[in-house]
Amino acid sequence: MPRKVAADSARAALRDEMPGSVVPAVELRGVDKRFGRVHANRDVSLAVARGAIHGLVGENGAGKSTLMSILYGFYRADRGEIRVDGRPVAIEDSEDAIAAGIGMVHQHFMLVDTFSVVENMVLGAEGGALLASGMSRARRVLERLARDYALEVPPDARVGDLSVGVQQRVEILKALFRGAEILILDEPTGALTPQEAEHLFRILRRLKAQGKTIILITHKLREVMEVSDRVSVMREGAMVAHRDTARTSIPELAELMVGRRVLLRVEKGEARPGRNLLAVETLSVRDERGTTRVREVSFTVREGEIVGIAGVSGNGQSELLEALAGLRPAFAGHILLRGRPLGEGSGARRSEGLAHVPEDRRRMGLVLPFEVRESAILGYHDDPRYRSAGRLDWASVSRDTEEKMRAFDVRPPDPRRITASLSGGNQQKLVLAREMERDPSVLVVGQPTRGVDIGAIEFIHRRLVAMRDAGKAVLLVSAELDEIMGLCDRILVMFNGRIVGEVPAGAASERELGLLMAGAGARSRALRAP
């Protein structure tokens, strides 16, 4: 009898030990998934410990999103097993995932802008035919969650009126409201200011302290290093490494992601700025609804320098870019190239030597259903070089496109492929090739590396610096502070349509830029403005 008790207690001790250290909260075993000829996940295994923040990193197309979509029930794996708390579960759709305690915060929020926070929370979990009971329950839960996790949100505010950072909290709340124990966050800091990102990390740490398990999909290695306990790296559909965050480094992770050594810092020499090329004078721009989005903005860009515009997206950068490119009329003010006003319309600007790489290459910079060679002449289709006997000379377009593709390492260099079939990085290189190979004097670039792989980022940055060194003026708008700080010679910060500060790149600290971006820079502007 006593012997049996002892054995039982030994087994119990073993069991007690297991949940914390041995049985993972989520485990994927041998997951394999193909889409036609694309092998998106190759025998992938991943174990995430309970109460941990687990980073999942990899380039675009490495299979992170597919893997998480399988976990969340958007796709079904061809092979493999999912275990939650050590038990195999069948996840056929997102309802099964929610039932298993898995919640997901998507990169692009799934919120109804015209609903209030509470209404969004109960969406899909209304609880009964009448709204009132579900809503009041949601309100109570909301208050408790806000207290426990620093997830402050105004419960009755219209979601559309909230800032991106607060909207993201609503998404997290939605998942928690549905009883999520395991939270997947897909590129959560893409649209946040550094301060908002910091707040998010505070929330995540708090969630972790309460025993929640968090999977963080990201391409920002710095954030993984900052917030995660363990990191898994995927490359070309396969899991290539698992590391304890404390025992790895950014260069190691980058190398694992890309499969070769990568240069994370932009290598560039001293800028040698020359004469003023582009001058913007008290420019104001309105949007379609008549709201002023750019307010009396003035700046210059000189030959041989890269000027960056930092800011949280939605503070007028996009409208400024479009006005410069001739896609949006200036409501007031002037845009001068070499002291002369630029012509109207994007066609005129292009022929006057102002090239534009738009922020949204998929919607604007390329025509995705077109063949690559057709996308490669967008905006330059009237060039007589592409014409013979009044017809478009596709043979010459093909030759020209293939040259550009080779010069910019667009793979595969086949001008007859469909544009949409290129990866994000190759699409972006195609746009850059089209705009840069014409030898423009001013290049206006929006988000040059958004959704682009590390390897391609390195290439794109080198080309932009080479352009600067060839004496061209480059204006760069980017949501990536790292990119702005690494690449630019001068940094302008936009907030609410105005330029609220100018910082020489060498002197810029992330904290200072973040404060300016958040609109807390009135004093700082007084200090910095020339």
Binding site: R34, F35, G36, R37, D78, A325, L327, G345, S346, G347, A348, R350, H356, P358, D360, R363, M364, G365, L366, V367, L368, P369, F370, E374, I377, L378, G379, H381, D382, R387, G390, R391, L392, W394, D414, R416, R417, I418, A420, S421
Partner: protein, 370 residues
């Protein structure tokens, strides 16, 4: 060349979307038609035999099939050109109808011109009037944002009312109660193909097939050249796929909308050459007889490509001609039954064109994945 389709059939190889899918759709339509035939107690195989024989079995039948096909080519091309600019032109019917007014005005009032001048003048009249009828919906779409589907449907009704008014009150022959104009002069008619061949010493059976068939084939080539090999076509397709990309490329979407609709209307208008100058030799009520609407199915089935449209037009022409023969041979299969079969083809090839995409994707990926 890598070839995967985009859109609803994304991921499928292009050959499957262009070749396999229409054939599957067609076979399904025929299978369902066969069931309907069985239901009324006829033998489907006999029906198929009569249908094919009626469309291609003898010289006269072929002539009729090609004659009908001519109408479908014009209206199919019209829908396709607009479609390449992202527009759904439902107004082919009205544009063809009003195009007939242009033909009649030339043939009735410029008949002092010799044959060699009156033919191009009538062609211009057909195209110009068809385009003019497309202009108002096009303008409203381009510059005022009124949806072209709605306005072109409305303009079909206006065209019908206008033509009734003109034929009853203005253009009918004095002393006649028929709502139609006087016959065109002998030299204001397009020669029949059997007449042309007879002049060359080749004897074929008489049919309404006339010179406009050649013009229809030329239009196929013209549309192919225009859409894929000119800057104008490039601009038009850019707008069709992505208006923001067009604006970025310095292309004005409203302008392209206008151009696409005018070309579309002109092509639809040309249909009236075949009916009026080719066969009826007068302007009469409702000669457009639904060809404008059928053109939508033809364009969809032909996937907007002139070669596809040519093939789809032949199919529809054969269904028209073979169907007429069918209701003659088997009285229990009425004219309406033939319309049902045509409707099923339109349903499966047009409206339900992507019905088999999931099945096809499964079948093809399984094979590749193995």
């Amino acid at each position: 060349m890598t070839a995967t389709a985009t859109g609803p059939a994304a991921g499928l190889p292009r050959w499957a979307v262009i070749g396999l899918l229409p054939v599957l759709n067609l076979l399904t339509a025929f299978a369902v038609s066969g069931l309907v035939v069985l239901l009324i107690g006829e033998d489907p195989w006999r029906v198929v035999r009569i249908l094919v024989w009626g469309a291609f079995g003898f010289e006269e039948a072929i002539g009729y099939t090609l004659f009908y096909a001519t109408n479908f080519i014009f209206t199919g091309l019209a829908v396709a050109v607009a479609f390449h600019c992202g527009l759904f032109n439902i107004g082919g019917e009205g544009q063809a109808y009003v195009g007939g007014l242009g033909v009649a005005l030339v043939c009735l009032h410029l008949d002092f011109l010799p044959f060699a001048l009156i033919v191009p003048a009538a062609m211009a009249g057909a195209a110009l009037f068809g385009a003019a009828w497309a202009f108002v919906p096009a303008f409203l779409q381009a510059y005022r944002g009124s949806h072209v589907v709605i306005t072109t449907i409305m303009f079909n009704f206006i065209a019908a009312a206008l033509m009734v008014y003109l034929l009853v009150n203005v253009m009918s022959e004095p002393g006649s109660v028929q709502p139609e104009t006087r016959p065109f002069a002998a030299h204001a008619r397009l020669p029949f193909v059997h007449e042309i061949l007879a002049a060359a010493g080749i004897r074929v059976a008489a049919s309404p097939l006339n010179l406009s068939f050649v013009w229809a084939l030329l239009c196929c080539a013209f549309v192919w050249l225009f859409i894929w090999h000119t800057r104008a076509g490039y601009r038009l397709r850019t707008v069709g796929f992505s208006p923001p990309a067009a604006r970025y490329g310095g292309i004005s979407p409203p302008r392209q909308v206008l151009i696409a609709m005018l070309v579309s209307g002109a092509l639809a208008g040309c249909m009236s050459l075949n009916e009026l100058m080719g066969v009826q030799h007068r302007l009469l009520l409702e000669f457009s007889a639904g060809y404008g609407f059928a053109g939508i199915a033809v364009a969809l089935m032909g996937r907007g490509h002139p070669v596809g449209i040519l093939l789809a037009s032949l199919l529809f022409g054969a269904l028209y001609q073979g169907g007429a023969e069918l209701s003659f041979e088997i009285p229990r299969i009425t004219r309406d039954m033939v319309v049902v079969i045509q409707g099923l083809v339109i349903l499966f090839a047009g409206a339900l064109e992507y019905l088999f995409v999931p099945a096809l994707r499964l079948a093809l990926t399984r094979r590749h994945g193995a």
